[in-house]
């Protein structure tokens, strides 16, 4: 029976890809292991191999097609004795056919990520409150491109800026964030390291002591645990220990938090950990515009900055100001949506739940004010307290562990500084108090959800 060849998922977070090139044509006989096509994911160009034997009956997706969703039929493979005429029958009956479970497919369809339950980008890809001058033009960019541009611009601006990490140069970045940098800046400034986080983080600290401006990329912040001593003891504390004589101007950056189905050791949000350390600045952007503007600010900052990115967000597209030098100051939250009934405060990927919840709440007549903290150290307490004084209610949203979370800290701060304004206890929506499980359903349960945010808002508004 004719078998459909489906667009494969080739990375944990791949949702769609480009069918870059067919290496077979209709009528070709293929056997298991033959390369059928080249597929560009958000991270790399991959070769796609045949699993079954047969003849290519029909190519359904032309080469060069962009945005081909995972599981879309891209070709039909005929078994011996079948002809192209049999193709009509193949639809929906293929052995590895399109999603059989309709409910599942409809649930994942709107998501940018195949498995990760974080909601897709809400309609507003721009906050209500703009720091930009009237008439600023915008361009559509992914977070990935925005981060890359930020580094490239800063490297052009300052010869002391260099980037080092695993696979940042020749591989073009494990998550393609450093794509093209090697070509432009050469191997003096874009440096592949051995897989030795402890060592290269410390080496970066020394380079900063020596007057350079290192950007140390961790393939993920999970691996930065091996370098924790260098980040905390060597980078964060030196300025103080030196009585202000010398410090450590550098950026530690990389994806942080859960991706999709990558298990306990690759799925932790370190926001609260780093935010507890004096001497560090801590950034966790949500939008592409902020990712760009904040990374540029981080590279120029005279202190060690921990810049927490998110793999799920890398591929999301936002409006980015099309101006020459877009920077975003630290310690200034962004109000994405104004409201009077409740304050929802979040950062990073937590914003996806916060904004989706706010849209749904609006349908029920509840106007939520949604604040993106953007930087966690320094933290914009003023904007938060001002908002809580207006709405008298607050829900915090993050994917990290619940104990000693950012939400816990915000709750305490609000209690101490706006107690009399509160009409309900602050509720923290967080990841669950468990290591991240692998199973798709358990992973979903371990993260926070838009529904939890909705429930929390209903609880604090008594509506």
């Amino acid at each position: 029976m004719a078998t459909e060849v489906l667009m494969p998922a080739l990375s944990p977070t791949m949702e769609e890809g480009t069918l870059a090139k067919w290496l077979v044509k209709e009528g070709d006989t293929v056997s298991s292991g033959d390369i059928l096509a080249e597929i560009e994911t958000d991270k790399a160009t991959m070769e796609f191999e045949a699993v079954d034997e047969g003849t290519i009956g029909k190519i359904l997706i032309e080469e060069g097609t962009e945005g081909v969703k995972v599981n879309t039929p891209i070709a039909v493979l005929l078994e011996e004795g079948e002809s192209a005429d049999d193709i009509e029958d193949a639809s929906g009956k293929g052995s590895a056919a399109a999603p059989a479970d309709k409910e599942q497919s409809s649930e994942t369809a709107p998501s940018d990520s195949k498995d990760h339950p974080a909601p897709a980008k809400p309609k507003d890809s721009r906050p209500v409150e703009s720091e930009l001058p009237e008439g600023t033009k915008f361009k559509q960019q992914t977070v990935r491109e925005a981060l890359r541009d930020a580094m490239a611009e800063e490297m052009r601006r300052d010869g002391a800026v260099f980037v080092m990490g695993e696979e940042v140069a020749e591989y073009q970045g494990a998550y393609k964030i450093t794509q093209g940098l090697l070509d432009e800046f050469g191997d003096r400034r874009v440096i592949d390291t051995p897989i030795t986080e402890h060592g290269f983080a410390g080496l970066g600290v020394g380079a900063a002591f020596g007057g350079l401006r290192p950007i140390v990329e961790f393939m993920t912040f999970n691996f930065a645990m091996q370098a924790m001593d260098q980040i905390i003891n060597s980078a964060a504390k030196t300025l103080y220990m030196a009585g202000g004589q010398m410090g450590c101007p550098m950026v530690f950056r990389g994806p942080n938090g859960a991706a999709a189905r990558v298990g306990a050791q690759h799925s932790q949000d370190y926001a609260a950990w780093y935010s507890s350390v004096p001497g560090l600045k801590v950034v966790q952007p949500y939008s592409a515009a902020d990712a760009k503007g904040l990374l540029k600010t981080a590279i120029r900052d005279p202190n060690p900055v921990v810049f927490l990115e998110n793999e799920i967000l890398y591929g999301r597209t936002f409006d980015v100001p099309d101006i020459e030098d877009h920077t975003v100051p630290f310690g200034k939250a962004k109000i994405w949506r104004e409201g009077t009934d409740v304050t929802i405060v979040s950062f990073g990927i937590g914003m996806t739940y916060a904004l989706e919840a706010a849209e749904k709440l609006a349908e029920d007549g509840i106007e939520a004010e949604v604040i993106d903290l953007r930087t966690l150290r320094p933290l914009d307490y003023d904007t938060l307290i001002e908002s809580v004084k207006k709405t008298n209610r607050c829900v915090t949203v993050e994917e990290g562990f619940p104990v000693c979370s950012i939400g816990n800290h915000l709750s305490a701060y609000i209690m101490q500084n706006a107690f009399d304004y509160l009409d309900a206890p602050v509720i923290n929506c967080t990841g669950k108090d468990v290591p991240m499980p692998y199973a798709a359903n358990l992973e979903k349960l371990a993260l926070t959800t838009t529904q939890e945010v909705l429930d929390a808002v209903h609880a604090v508004t008594y509506r």
Binding site: T196, G202, N233
Partner: protein, 344 residues
Amino acid sequence: MAARSTTSRSKGSAKTPLSATKDELLQYYKDMLLIRRFEEKAGQLYGMGLIGGFCHLYIGQEAVVVGLEAAAKEGDKRITTYRDHGHMLACGMDPKGVMAELTGRRDGYSKGKGGSMHMFSKEKDFYGGHGIVGANVPIGAGLAFSDKYNGTDNVTFTYFGDGAANQGQVYETYNMAELWDLPVIFVIENNQYAMGTSVKRATKSKSLWERGAAYGIPGEEVDGMDVLAVREAGRRAVENCRAGEGPYILEVMTYRYRGHSMSDPAKYRTRDEVQKMREERDPIEQVRKRLLDGDHASEDELKAVDKEIKEVINEAAEFARESPEPDPDELYTDIYADVAPQDA
């Protein structure tokens, strides 16, 4: 990369007798004596309660830093661990500022906020002063990286102990330093005890420098009680680095006379062992003998030097006692280079 042997060189190639001019010998004598007297005074102030916390004395190891500083030039960098007073004095930092830091006063190098283990001097290219065993080793390679990046021919002396030599990050650093030909000299100050654990009880390796061979880094063992032997080895290492040949390892065999820190009773070795080392190998006595035997100086001249140094140390101690404690406002300064910390 130029072809070069991946096996390490054997121990000290110089078979010719070590020699130095009168002026050089006298300078090393003074420099070592300054460290010795400084440390003795620090021990005394600690006993009086004027210095607190941890205080690791360098007595016995003076020839290591003085010998290597003799091989350094302007712009070379140095970084070490927590037994750091000797390194600071040897690179020309002011004994007053170091002592005032030990007493936790505002005129200390870190305004009293660093303490014995955490002092820095950008001016003298001294990059600390690090309290976590082994952590300064990749940092030292990073300093060397900055020199290579900037195209200078300066080198970085990265000091660590025999205990740190078993740390994983040291080997991560060896690998990168050799991979990228970084101008870093790894100086293993083997004083034979990692706190109370002798080298033999921590590793079966017969030597520590030879481990560099696994990464292709040349090195050698050096008599760390002889300042001239240290200087000679230092010159070989420096030459290697300045020529763009990458890192070099010096395992300098030395000995600390005092305990690991002021609170260490040093029960793990015999009094005889220490006494024997002091009597037979003392680095300062060796130079003193050279000066006298070579008719470079008379007993009286050396006595005058002793007196001069004693005065410098007494002044430093006086300064460190008189300097006021830091202003309470200093608690919240120097956390960020650009902004005041937030009140959370």
